[in-house]
Amino acid sequence: MDFTYTETQGMIRDTLARFLADTYDFDARTKMIASEAGRDPAIWTALAQELGMLGAAFGEEHGGLGGGHIENMIVMEELGKVMAIEPYLPTVVIGGGALTAAGGAVADHMIPEIIGGNVIIGFAYAEPQGRYNLANLRTSAKKEGAGYVLNGHKSVVVAAPWATHLLVTARSGGSQSEADGVSLFLIEAGLPGIVRRDYPTVDGFRASEVYFENVSIPGGALLGGEGAALPMIEAIVDTATAAICAEACGVTERLHAGTLDYAKQRKQFGQEIARFQVLQHRMVDMFMEVEQAKSMTIMATLSLDKPAQDRMAAVSAAKAKISQGARFVGQNAVQTHGGIGITQELAIGHYFKRASMIENQFGSADHHLDRYEMLTLAE
């Protein structure tokens, strides 16, 4: 048992932290979000080419640093600390994770492109009717010749407005919520028949509704077996869920630290509000949630390569706890700030917004408690 970082891992964290401290302060982030594109592409390029950060989690055979889940955890936590809107999660964690799992020629081709910063991937998995059930799909992929024809509507595809590629779940067979018949495709984002409606999200990202209207895609776009991709998709989403747990650690750590700083300087009734015992104990409770979020994130991350049952139970336990913790820390950070906490002016409110979205992303606490029980308490 060992909970320490390797030297390389420590370096990744420090390098990234320094870079973000220089480039990603609150004002810079606000400007990116307000810009036409909604991001600053130079940051992504720098992450790839100056820092080599996009390769941290990939194998050396593809030009990566030979890392994996722990490297993703480190990167996501640092990105969380500055509320980065960079598409690391869909591109590297999810897209990269799918490619690594699928292997073969497409991986050999695409992973170096990801590492080089030339590719951005949007994960088109959610559908209006599906809630958090990954198999509940109406989007269809009909075999036609050597390829497929895609039809359907995907909800809230984060980073889709920026994406070069889309990773799409679709039904190539079976009935609407059946485990069998689910396939996974990596396709170019600009194919004819792909219609997007773009919008910002409340927490600063850009996303799209994506409509597939008779989109012809090549057979080589298929990742994994036709109609047999659900287990792989579940593993990918678990990996992504662990990654946003790590992001939540960064976000809640800053919510806590920001609240502490504010409370030490803000005066009411003639003294710093940090001297009020009720607020002290509340900040202690926030601290305890942050610490437990870190513990659960490590637990879940170290479980990602376990057998599916164990992996799913571990990830659901972590996400349930962290959803609850993110709400607690976020709400109390705002409450302790008072009025200033609910304005756009201070970073704290924006951390709260991101924390609130993390709560339900890839499943609410209730969803994960359900799944945890199904796996461990079924009678």
């Binding site: 999200t201 409340v202 709260f352 609130s356 209730d366």
Partner: protein
């Protein structure tokens, strides 16, 4: 002891319900359903309809233009207004400065201001909070210095709700630098069009422009616009605080809010069942309903006490605390209910876009409303302050 409404009360309820059904502006309903910010005129249209009917100021004494209702009738009226999703009547004139003026004002002040509050001719805002003194009114720094028949006012106020529309504001200012805080405050009525008044927007988390900073630079205010004696403004402020807390429980609106959540949960699917059939989501709703019932009957007991001559005491802080917590929980459930569609954000983005909102109609305001609702435990004296009040005034701590 009984909790039934009398036949007269039931008839009254019918009358109110019918009036709303026949008179509430359809155009306003459409604006509300879009979920966009209301224009000043939107608020005023309904205000004027109620004013014309004589129902705009339920709590005012009849001599000043109130309808002369009983506490029970006022309760019924507020229930029906909420049940019909009517826009909120801005409280700053009707519920706040109005009662201060008819209680503490001069005959001239009463004659001039009260009719204009009732009619909606004057839109009011409240100049209380200052930067660095949120709930701590005793440490105000905005100061008024006498100059002939005027005060010259300098300072800065913040969290001033709807000041962008305001014709008049009521302000707490220091009128004596020597005296202790509470003995040095006066209550001034300031024309917001006076030279030296600047209003700057504060944008809140959901993107709303509801609150403002108000800067006062050498603003000249006639002494005749001071309510009550100089340095006795604290008396008005305390009176108003107590007044503000009644009704702050928001029971009727929250009841309506719970119904809306149920409707959402009936239409959202959770696998093969509706979200309302998910036992845990259903449990959150039932727990909320029960907590709301407890709040409702606590308010009714408090109203009964009031009717029996006991003014709304410091225990009304309970109504504020529990009422605001419930209002927040309603917005939490809405956000949880809409799933993925909590994320898209539209305000101010792609304006002029005629397409329908992304996701179901009820989804696109869930997150901003949730964010915005965090204010309910902060404003009007934060819930921490309310607990301090109960500790001190009720428990003797």
């Amino acid at each position: 002891m009984d909790m039934e409404f009398s036949a007269e009360d039931m008839t009254f309820r019918e009358e109110v319900r019918r009036f709303i059904a026949e008179n509430y502006p359809e155009s306003l309903r459409a604006v509300q359903e879009e979920g966009e910010e209301m224009a000043k005129e939107d608020f005023l249209s309904w205000h004027r309809i109620l004013a014309k009917k004589g129902w705009i100021a339920p709590a005012w004494p009849a001599e000043y233009g109130g309808p002369g209702w009983s506490a029970t009738q006022r309760f019924i009226f507020s229930e029906e207004i909420a049940a019909a999703d009517c826009v909120t009547i801005m409280p700053f004139g009707i519920n706040m400065v109005g009662p201060v003026i008819y209680t503490f004002g001069t005959p001239e002040q009463k004659a001039h201001f009260l009719p204009r509050i009732l009619s909606g001719d004057d839109w009011w805002c409240q100049g209380y909070s200052e930067p660095g003194a949120g709930s701590d009114l005793a440490s105000l720094r905005t100061a008024a210095v006498r100059d002939g028949d005027d005060y010259i006012v300098n300072g800065q106020k913040t969290w001033t709700t709807m000041a962008q529309h305001a014709d008049w504001g009521f302000f707490l200012v220091k009128t004596d630098r020597e005296l202790k805080a509470q003995e040095a405050i006066s209550f001034l009525l300031i024309d917001m069009k006076s030279p030296g008044v600047t209003v700057r927007p504060i944008i809140t988390l959901g993107g709303e422009h509801e609150v403002n900073e108000v800067w006062l630079e050498n603003v000249r205010v006639p002494i005749s616009n001071r309510v009550y004696e100089e340095n006795k403004g604290w008396t008005c402020a305390k009176f108003l605080l107590a007044h503000e807390r009644t009704g702050i429980a928001g029971v009727a609106r929250s009841k309506r809010g719970v119904e809306k959540i149920k409707a959402i949960a009936r239409s959202e699917m959770d696998g093969e069942r509706t979200l309302l059939q998910n036992p845990f989501f259903k449990r959150k709703i039932s727990q909320l309903e029960i907590d709301l019932t407890a709040l409702e009957f606590t308010e009714l007991r408090s109203l009964a006490g009031e009717a029996a001559g006991k003014g709304p005491g410091p225990e009304s802080s309970l109504l504020k605390i529990k009422g605001s917590e419930i209002q927040q929980r309603i917005t939490e459930l809405a956000l949880e209910a809409v799933g993925h569609y909590g994320a898209p954000y539209f305000r101010g983005f792609g304006e002029g876009d005629n397409e329908h909102a992304i996701g179901p109609d009820y989804a696109h305001r869930a997150a901003p409303t949730y964010f915005n609702a965090r204010k309910t435990t902060i404003y009007g004296g934060s819930n921490e302050i309310q607990r301090n009040i109960i500790a001190k005034m009720v428990l003797g701590l």
